[in-house]
Symmetry: D2
Subunit: 147 residues, 4 copies
Amino acid sequence: MARTPDPHFAQRIRASFDRQSAMHLIQATLPVVEQGLTEIHLPHWQGVEQQHGFVHGGVVGMIADSSAGYAAMTLVPADASVLTVEYKMNLVAPADGEKLIARGQVVRPGRTLIVTKAEVFAVKDGKESLCALMQQTIIVMHGKVEK
Amino acid sequence: MARTPDPHFAQRIRASFDRQSAMHLIQATLPVVEQGLTEIHLPHWQGVEQQHGFVHGGVVGMIADSSAGYAAMTLVPADASVLTVEYKMNLVAPADGEKLIARGQVVRPGRTLIVTKAEVFAVKDGKESLCALMQQTIIVMHGKVEK
Amino acid sequence: MARTPDPHFAQRIRASFDRQSAMHLIQATLPVVEQGLTEIHLPHWQGVEQQHGFVHGGVVGMIADSSAGYAAMTLVPADASVLTVEYKMNLVAPADGEKLIARGQVVRPGRTLIVTKAEVFAVKDGKESLCALMQQTIIVMHGKVEK
Amino acid sequence: MARTPDPHFAQRIRASFDRQSAMHLIQATLPVVEQGLTEIHLPHWQGVEQQHGFVHGGVVGMIADSSAGYAAMTLVPADASVLTVEYKMNLVAPADGEKLIARGQVVRPGRTLIVTKAEVFAVKDGKESLCALMQQTIIVMHGKVEK
């Protein structure tokens, strides 16, 4: 990255997450925000299920997309915001567990484009198993502070 | 397709949709189910918003994924079910409008794998504009009826 | 597009194609260059085959990627160039025929990012059948003329 | 994996690679074949270049796709073959170097579907730098030996 990232990135990202009604709707939380890495956690509750009682693939996608997007946001200057250009996700197993953990990580930083990945794990009886794998492209909007 | 698809596909698909709590949670409906094509509609309401007041990209992904998966399901026999293997989605504009329409379509049918696409449009003052474009791979599980 | 595209785009694109050694290596040609659309043709010859005598999936990818990238280039100003950010391709059938046709098209223009698609058809006994389907993101480099 | 993989996988894979004319055409080699992992190497020579003298993105895609497909093939029984269903690739930097190394790896094995990834590095003055990142879905064709 050409410019110094924001030292207060964690605070800025938590404030952004808190303004996302859709994250509240599904009861997601953001317990981990580190440089180049975030985690979104989701309890398994009835409202996010699909027809077989697993967590809906679309909800898995929501937390994968957001965790990786916020991982990218940890690396941008305070006066920049980020947008998802696109992502590709493989759903490799049913999201079967008491909770889900989406781990978003920056794979390749850049001034304009950032490539990230996310892995989503289902936690069952304390054991994590991979249920989704995502590769994502993020664009950095310089000079556009997220309000 | 090697085998005759189910003549009662629309009824079977509506029943499946009705069992998806996550679709109720976001207030999505499934008004269109035709051979190789479905539409999911979503009103714009506060619970599905992201931090700028647009519909959350993850919610856009949910209805895109589901509309295309159900489009594939219109073509499979009554004793088969479908699973999303993977999808790739470009978010091309903010989901800004009174409602969203996700149009899922089969692009390439097959006995084991079906390739689909979905387009998501935001409807504002009666005018549709494209906000997302998805390409998806579906696997058919023969002999596994969806309960 | 915010700026007037180059009226001489076809000439500029053909010159670019001619400088691509890799396109000569596989014997690809560029017979169609229209606004938002190009076609790359490839004869089926022994040098581009995989182990079963079909055209190699990687070669199918090469002409898909290039046809869609040049489709994007038809829409940019004369002082801009284009780069592939990423693409996603489904290989839906073996590339079995006397020749392949890759049709690249712009799906969603934009000043910085352009979303395109490509379809690759195998032509056998004069009949076209789909063998690959691609969705791609292109970035426009303004002020960087391709030399 | 439900069944014992082939102990002679390396021999079988090298024989398959040798039958791929397209790999000879671009002068690619397969120096590394291990369980769940392969490497394809490509010297930078004039025939594989694009218009700026870097290795063509399509050629980068060819070796990424093949290295990951062969990584999947290391895990399947002797009487099975593999096909690429689809892949998604980010081109993150120009392929600028004396040679390229594509490292394909299995991310998630399965009886019918295998998810893989590939990273392509350009080697310049002995230093590797990432130029492409791919996520891929492979289907296993049981009972179809590759001849």
